[in-house]
Amino acid sequence: MAPSFDHLPDPEEDEYDEEEELDFSDLHERFEVQLEQGLDAFVVVDGLPEVNEETKPKLVKFLMRKLNAVGKVKEDSVHMPIGDDGKSYRFAFVEYSSPAEAVAACKALDMVALDKKHTLRVNKLTDIDRYGREGRIDDNYTPPKIEDFTEKEHLRSWLADPSGRGRDQFVMYKDNGVGVYWNNEKDAPEAIVERQHWTESFVQWSPQGTFLTSMHQQGVQLWGGPSWTRQKRFAHPFVNLVDFSPGEKYLTTWSNRPISIPEDGHPALSVDDDGMNYVIWDIETGKPLRSFANLDLPSTSTDEAGQPVKRKIQWPAFKWSADDNYVARITHGTSISVYELPRMGLLDKKPIKIEGVMDFDWAPATPHREGIKTYEQLFCYWTPELGSNPAKVALMSIPSKEVVRTLNLFSVTDAKLHWQSDASFLCVKVDRHSKSKKSLATSLEIFRVREKGVPVEVVDSIKDTVINFAWEPKGDRFVIITTAEVVAATAVPPKTSVAFYCPEKVKGNFVGNFKHLRTYDKKNSNAIYWSPKGRFVIVATVHSQISSDMEFFDMDFEGEKPESDKDLTANLQLMNTAEHYGVTDIDWDPTGRFVATSASMWKHTMENGYHLYDFKGEQLREEPVEKFKQWIWRPRPPTLLTKEEQKQIRKNLREYSKVFEQEDQDRGASADAAVVENRRRLLDEWLAWRAGVEEDLKEEKEALGLPDDPLDALLGKTDESESQVIEEIVEEIVEETEEIIS
């Protein structure tokens, strides 16, 4: 049958429809090209007053003044829609010349008051589309879920030593394991917690000992409380270093890799943090406050190829004021940026311009200055000679930005700033070159911060270069190490001298002039470790292959005082010397009772392990530890006792110590008894076991019909009676004299 017209297939129906039925919507959605919509430069300004056609230009003009503060806006690019009733909708679309300006406008103009009644709300148009589109916001209010309150662990419970002995804790990192231990002096430390792979690079205590910090590729974690649970997590990817504010409120993390925020976001950081190296976090909330990029340091030297050598980063780059209220960073040669916490805004919205500034440092405590009632923070900085201007060291008070004191210096090669722990003194170690720039000499400029007008005392009797300087914590004495040779990276450590300085005795409650007390020559020492409570100091040679000796000094020796020192406020005595081969680190416990010295495999692999000394330099313990890495004492928070209460304790020290001494004795005795008891048990067990074994052996021999001694049969040939006695006669000539008989 030929196809009739009726039966002709309808091409539309059959062929085209088929194609049309295919649903490409999913592919469309997937491969749809996101066109640059050009809306990024638009912002929406809300919160405008209501206007009509007549008053509109006036408002636009007024608004333009605000809008142009951050970018370029033409009059015709402000679009303010008017409703049917002739009144405006109280908002406007504004087009900036670039998306960057739009972003800046959102940041700068949002929440800015237009007049008394109206506050501008500025948002990007794309954001309104993204967040405000229909369906994105639930019309019904659902209250946020508030999680039930759970009691947190007491973060300072560790201060109450369960044994009642006020022992200190320390963390030890060896091989892959990290452990926290009680110091048991001569006995093996008592483990509190030990975990494998607790950290990936190192561990660190927070400055008051509340948290133990562990480092991971994903970020930093803080641990604490009696069960050592994770307290906080700061997800800074590839973090390298971490620094706490002194009051443990904030945390700085740094990575040499700029942060890159993945497409699908980051749990803690936002797009704004992309490309940054530093993040400052609020420890309490765990939220980032602000992030910063690395500053390129101007290079001072060039390598062989003439390329500038990249300077190592300064750490910490962000330095904290003593009260946690400010953090500051130096921009080499130009300015210091001081940020106010917790908002992390720049103080007075601009960096403090200081031409040529080389280094700065905050006072480690809130300084008390005579006649100054406001307790402002203080930092010092120095600038080198610029043209005909001399080099300068200055103290600046924050937030007032008042320069409290400046000191002009000449022929300065380098300067180092050393604050005393109470911020009573600031010592500036100035390396000066001679006119020919060939030889160096050091002078110490000591600022007496507490005294009126901040007088400066100069100690310039030093002929050599000072390679190390350390103030006595909470005191007014210091130790320096000097060398006549140029410090170069040679295998042979330079010969050094160790010099002690102290103030003269003066009447009244003043600190006298600083005088030289004693110098020890021909040393190799390169490091100074003061007890955190002052008075005792260790001068040591660390990181050396050849010598590794430590000398324990007492600055207030109670014995006889040499006549020559009678006007000085110190009586120096070398208490003890010790040697710890290959020592790399020396750490005083926070109470100043013990010192741990250690040889870390990070520096070398020889005889890794630790020694423990008391403050007198008496060795208590020595333990080689395979793959030993770190030993850090747990810091203690400042005491809660008032000055009077502390004085009271000191006064009655004898009474207290009697109790403790008795306890120590009892414990020692009971420990000895336990050891003896244990030995007796072991011996009894052994003897009992032996008796059993001998019995069994005898039975078995009898059963097998073997003689008691299998060798009797073998040696039977030689009868017992035939045992030989070998006599050896030794003639010894005691004396020989020759007499001639005539």
């Binding site: 005889e607 003896v676 011996l683 076991w689 074994v693 052996l697 073997l706 299998p710 060798l711 073998l714």
Partner: protein
């Protein structure tokens, strides 16, 4: 303790043995000959020449008639002690790392190395303690170590068990008659080579030394680890002292690592531990290479150590050694005397 220095070997010592009377010391080194010495003055009695490779091991029969040596030339040889004449040569496929006579000298075991496709074995021969007799060629028994090669082995009390220490840190117990493995225990850290086994005088318990820096005192009957002596260096040898309840441990940084470290770090000291209390009592210095072997006079009068440095140091214990006792030991002794 003033040691006698025996300078007869040119290369590293491998094993030292006292005879039963404690008057002769036998030593082997990698320099292809064994030496015999008078224990009391260090005079050399003689040498035994014949091996073509480094000697790994020596043992003397209880009657001080013959010695057996094992070497890297894949042979075990028997020698007449007095004449130095080689009495017998047994050939193997691989080097022999350990030989030991049983309690009555009627059997000898030899531990062979696993190499060149051959598995490690423990071979037993019947021995005739007679210089004139023809020794048999036939092996009385062969134990093949399929899991982990044996490094050391020895005979227990009444020649009831053969105890072997393995490369993987395990200790196994075989029936000395059938060769059947009765027990196997992970006495040391996994993969820490067991370097030495030495017996108590009655062979009811033994001490093992291992590269895991510990020595362990183990019951021969049930392989229970009774005591552990922890040191800070890999151990090569351990010995139990008769008369006094001590053990002597020897070791030091592995020979190949020595050159890369300073001498002060080598820890080339013989260490004395109290056998029952597991406490270190003292150390004897002197060697300038790791200690490869320590041996104690069966009469308890002295000990000798042989080092990678090629020297044997023979020590006669002095009065202080015999007088040293713990308070509890004195008390217990006093009690026993009263009874």
């Amino acid at each position: 303790m003033r040691p006698i220095l025996l300078q007869g070997h040119e290369r590293a010592l491998t094993q030292i043995r006292y005879n039963r009377d404690g008057d002769i010391i036998f030593s082997t080194a990698k320099d292809q000959h064994a030496c015999a010495w008078y224990a009391h003055n260090g005079e050399r009695l003689g040498t035994y020449h014949g091996h073509q490779g480094a000697l790994w091991t020596v043992d003397v029969d209880p009657t001080s008639t013959i010695i057996a040596t094992g070497a890297a030339d894949n042979t075990v040889r028997l020698w007449d002690i007095k004449s130095g004449k080689c009495l017998k040569v047994w050939e193997f496929n691989t080097a022999v790392k350990r030989v030991e006579f049983n309690e009555d000298g009627s059997k000898l075991l030899a531990v062979t190395e696993k190499r060149m496709g051959f598995l490690g074995t423990i071979v037993v021969f019947d021995i005739k303690l007679d210089l004139e007799a023809e020794q048999t060629d036939e092996r009385a028994m062969t134990i093949t170590c399929e899991d982990s090669k044996a490094t050391v082995a020895g005979w227990s009390f009444l020649s009831k068990y053969i105890i072997a220490g393995h490369e993987d840190g395990t200790v196994s117990q075989y029936d000395a008659k059938t060769g059947e493995q009765l027990d196997n225990t992970q006495a040391h850290e996994p993969d820490a080579l067991i370097t030495d086994i030495q017996w108590s005088p009655d062979r009811t318990y033994f001490i093992t030394a291992s590269k895991d820096k510990t020595a362990k005192l183990i019951n021969a009957r049930d392989l229970e680890v009774m005591k552990t002596y922890v040191t800070d260096t890999p151990l090569n040898s351990a010995s139990i002292t008769p008369k006094k309840d001590f053990v002597i441990l020897g070791g030091g940084q592995a020979a190949m690592d020595v050159t890369t470290t300073s001498a002060r770090q080598g820890k080339f000291e013989a260490r004395f531990y109290h056998k029952i209390f597991e406490e270190e009592i003292g150390r004897v210095r002197g060697h300038f290479g790791p200690l490869n072997t320590v041996a104690v006079d069966p009469q308890g009068k002295g000990y000798a150590s042989g080092g990678e440095d090629g020297y044997v140091r023979v020590h006669q214990f002095d009065k202080g050694y015999f007088d040293f006792t713990y308070e509890v030991e004195r008390q217990v002794r006093a009690q026993q005397q009263q009874q």
